[in-house]
């Protein structure tokens, strides 16, 4: 569960990604697909209400290309 003082970002390892598209199906609010099926991730932190869904997307990715990164609560 996200701790109140941190925020998290969804990121993809483009080498591992094979455009299965489960992430875009599970969490379309954050993941869009380009014309070749590869994920375009929205900028910004994951909204808390979508965090669990984001975790599921990370788990379901057949290539384990998706991961969640913790970013500092105060921006750079």
């Amino acid at each position: 569960m996200p701790i109140a003082s941190f925020s998290y970002r969804l990121r993809v390892n483009p080498i591992a990604c094979d455009a299965f598209g489960y992430c875009a199906e599970l969490i379309p609010e954050i993941v869009l697909r380009d014309e070749w099926g590869y994920p375009i991730l929205r900028e910004g932190p994951i909204p808390p209400r979508l965090f669990e869904l984001a975790q599921r997307a990370v788990r379901e990715c057949p290539r384990r290309a998706l991961f969640i990164e913790r970013i500092a609560s105060t921006g750079p």
């Binding site: 591992a16 299965f20 598209g21 489960y22 199906e25 599970l26 788990r59 379901e60 057949p62 384990r64």
Partner: protein, 382 residues
Amino acid sequence: MAVVTTSQWLWYTTRATGIVALVLLTTSVVLGVLTSVRFETTSWPRFTFQDLHRRVSLLAVVFVALHVITTVSDAFAPIGWVSVVIPFTSPYRRLWLGLGTISVDILLAVTISSLLRQRIKPRSWRALHWLAYASWPLAVVHGLGTGTDPHLGWVIVLVVVCVAAVLVAITWRLVAGWPAHAGARVTAASASVVAVVALAAWTALGPLRPGWAVRAGTPAALLAGSKKAAGAQPVSSSTTPAPSGSARSPATSLPAPPYSASFQGTVTQQSLSSTSVRLEIKAQTSGALVALVDIAIVGTPDGSGGVTMQESRASFGPTGAPTQYQGEIVGLEGSRMLLSLANQAGSLLHLRVDVTQSGSQVSGELRSISEIGAERGFGDDN
């Protein structure tokens, strides 16, 4: 061919769970291919197929586990826990069962690696998962080779449907993404075609032909003692050795005739009424043939210590199934009796029994004979 067992429900469960497992494994393979080719419909997004594939696979594993447990627990066939993981160690249809063992080994490896998926390298997981493509055909061949039901019509239809489904799935898998890795795809396609043709040919010439149980390597002791099997010849021990661990379970079948043995036992007399008595001989053979014989004669005493027979009952069978053969006395002269018995399947057995009595102890010799009256011995002495 009739094979008798005392633990019938275990055996039925083994066969049933085996068939269900095959159907589930087939479904799992098809679903797995659907995820590979990124199949989706308007109401079923892609990730649902991965989810389904996982759930069906786990269910398949459960049924395979039941299949394995019931097989090993069943004392009838000599399959131990070792044979579950180490192939070709079972005296029961060594080769065909061994293929099932390999299939289970692969299934175990694939299942464990998938449960630990987040902790192992993606490339390792993938390489291992591809082995699943080998597990399925091994299961099919195992089922046809080890199973006792291939001759059933609906079983054959089911197997054909499963093979067809997997064939269609594999074709789809090889076509999607063409022409990348064209060489490998062509190799896989040719191998699949060859495999299916070989499977069909082998099934037609092997399991579907009579006598498969023997050719597959069913241990001699488990085959029915019927004249139909093995052509009324003593089954040679070149196929498989006698079941090991027979000390664990009582003998449940007789050897194929002819056989003879000496026996020892007791005789009791019981008065049923003023004019009828009941004599009962209970004896056990010794030596190579271990069996129990029970003969009951109801009749009237003839005044000189003997009995004039009016009715009789006889049973004979191995110690694990003493009433396997039941019948009556069809010939009685002095101390020699001729018994005519039959088992549940209707196979006939004729025994010649020579009895010597001393007090309440009896001893003697019994011998199986092929046809009443064919033996010159009856009516003569010696």
